[in-house]
């Protein structure tokens, strides 16, 4: 297997109860340092796919190789795998009972066995980077939506993941706060972070994506560079979708 491939998905299926076929045979490869953006109409399975990658959603069948390990294998310790796959949620999901600093240090301290000092130093560096150094001792409820999402991103980064999964990171934000979050994501992309992003921000997809996947009815209906997909979509489904969102 190519060392450069960080995630390889083979024939992934997911059936929910009541036989909705949310994922219907997905095959995809993500290379190290690549930014992959997933777009598609709601209910097309893009979020399910993203959540399948770290088994928050358990696929019915198929294989997911993460750094060469099939995480669908029951013998694999998924918790260890997840430490290397950061995730950012639509609803931020910060821990409301902890300060920002605690939010960011708890996982490195408990899981990577870092000392308090190490973890806090790293957290402060990351906060500095996203311009929130002065909010380290605040509680999540004291932050705006954009600030919360930036904290959520650096919380994931504090674990030094190899890949970051973004599940509609800007959908729950007020429009004026979308920019600040996207800026952080762009910085990350430029630094060479491997990112898989489910989003409705076509501007971001155009500007930053190395590859865009268009999902429809649990399948990858079309994929290509942003230029190919946005300027010249091949399928009717993609054309309809893009005409609505652009």
């Amino acid at each position: 297997m190519n060392d450069n491939v960080i995630i390889r998905v083979e024939d992934l299926h997911k059936c929910f109860k009541g036989s909705i076929h949310a994922l219907n045979g997905i095959d995809v490869e993500v290379k190290r340092g690549e930014v992959v953006v997933i777009i598609g109409p709601s209910g097309c399975g893009k979020s399910t796919f993203l959540r399948s990658l770290n088994l928050l959603e358990e696929p019915t069948s198929g294989h997911i190789f993460f750094e060469g390990t099939d995480i669908m294998d029951r013998k694999v310790d998924i918790n260890l795998m997840r430490q290397k796959m950061g995730m950012v949620f639509q609803q931020f999901n910060l821990f409301p009972h902890m300060t920002i600093l605690k939010n960011m240090t708890i996982a490195p301290m408990k899981l990577l066995k870092k000392t308090k000092e190490e973890a806090e130093q790293r957290a402060r560096e990351l906060l500095q980077k996203v311009g929130l150094a002065d909010r380290a001792d605040a509680y999540p409820s004291q932050l705006s939506g954009g600030q919360k999402q930036r904290v959520a991103i650096v919380r994931a980064l504090a674990m030094n993941p190899d890949v970051l999964l973004f599940d509609e990171p800007t959908s729950a934000l007020d429009p004026e706060m979308v920019g600040e979050v996207l800026d952080v994501m762009k910085d990350l992309a430029r630094e060479g972070m491997t990112m898989i992003v489910v989003t409705h921000e076509m501007g971001f997809a155009r500007e930053m994506a190395d590859r865009v996947l268009f999902f429809d009815e649990g399948k990858i209906a079309e994929e290509g560079t942003p230029e190919e997909l946005f300027e010249n979509p091949k399928t009717q489904r993609a054309r309809d979708f893009l005409s609505k969102v652009l």
């Binding site: 770290n54 928050l56 358990e58 918790n79 260890l80 997840r82 430490q83 796959m85 950061g86 995730m87 949620f89 609803q91 999901n93 910060l94 821990f95 409301p96 009972h97 708890i106 996982a107 408990k110 899981l111 509680y139 409820s141 004291q142 919380r155 994931a156 674990m159 999964l165």
Partner: protein
Amino acid sequence: MTKKRIIAIVIAAVILLGAVAGLIISIKKQGEASVSIDIPEAEALVNETFDAMAVTAPLKLISDANSITVSDVSYGTEKDVILSCTVSTVDIYSVVSPLLDEFLSSDVKKPNGMFKSALNFKQEFEDRLCELIEGAESVTKDVDIFFYEIDGTLTLYAENSIVDTVYGGAVKLADEVMKRTTYTVTENGEQVEKPIETNNVNKGFVSCVQMRYTAEKPDVSAPIVRTWNNLKADFKKNFIDHDRWLTIVNGLWTTIRLTVFSLLIGIVIGFIVAFVRCTYDKLTRRGPILSVSNFICNLYLTVTRGTPVVVQIMIIYFVMFMPLGVDKFIAAVICFGLNSGAYVAEIVRGGIMSIDNGQTEAGRSLGFNYMQTMYHIVFPQAFKAVLPALANEFVVLLKETSIAFYIGLGDLMYAGNAIRAATYSAFMPLVTVAIIYLIMVLVLSKLVSILERKLRNNER
């Protein structure tokens, strides 16, 4: 100064003056009796009062035979009426006292070998005493009899010595018999002193010549002061005498220990059960161990919540623990711990369920396993969310421990009831117990609200 302020001051002054005046009047309301009485009336009253006292057959004979003549009525300064009387009565004391040894040396056993009860002796002595009274001489004595005016009616101040005089030495006789522990018999011409084998003899004798009357000087103060005095006397009787307050303190200590230990057990059980049930509900892959634990938890909840606590504690103690010789306290702690565990479990489960699933997902996505996520992320939030409900449960538990009374555990409730049984006064001990429970509940609620506010501040 504004008009309103002046009015307020005037009203306050009037109320204050009124209160002081009322207090002075109520205390000063002593002096001469307001009712007057002439000699025939006084004679009728005093004879009636004393006749109403006697109940046993020998005393009835005395009171039939005696007569009281009033020679003068005078009025004292404490609302008292003093009747100077001449009493003619049967001198039972001088007749019976030489024969006391004979009474006390009665056979203490029945023909069948059983010991006689006080009642047996009373029946045995009564006829004999009646005979003696009928043959006794009359004596005449002068005595001052006091009546006190309380709420407009005259009440006899039946001091021991007066009753004794009127009944020809009956009170003195009873006193003497009660004190006797030996009797003297003449055996072979020699006087031998022997111990009385059972005090049923004394009791039996005394119950022949016993009267019920209050030998205390009546309280002639105003009703409000009298109520206060009664309350004080009641308080003294229930808490000061015989150091009865210690019973309450010990009971309180037991209740507190019982509540705290039950609480700890309840929280531990509650969290474990809630954890098992939530895990069962949340996970899709369920091992056999989880399924069995979930079944056990459900069974436990159904039984505990579906049966009354009284039944539970009686079964736990009388059926399970008493035969094994386990202490009542431990039985009660286990019972209340199990019981509150069931309620805590449901509260905690509600709390865990109320925490957004996103929190679990965020925890898991960072690499925490299920247990770590629960421990670091879900439980702290759930605990905070359910704190008011838990506090409520604890208050309920504190009150519920009074049920330990049913297995005879000496808790606060038991202490109150023990005092009630000893003093025959229900008001003071039971109301005190209620007040202590109330204070504890209020303090506990206050503490919890402080804790709650602190927790809430943390999040801001």
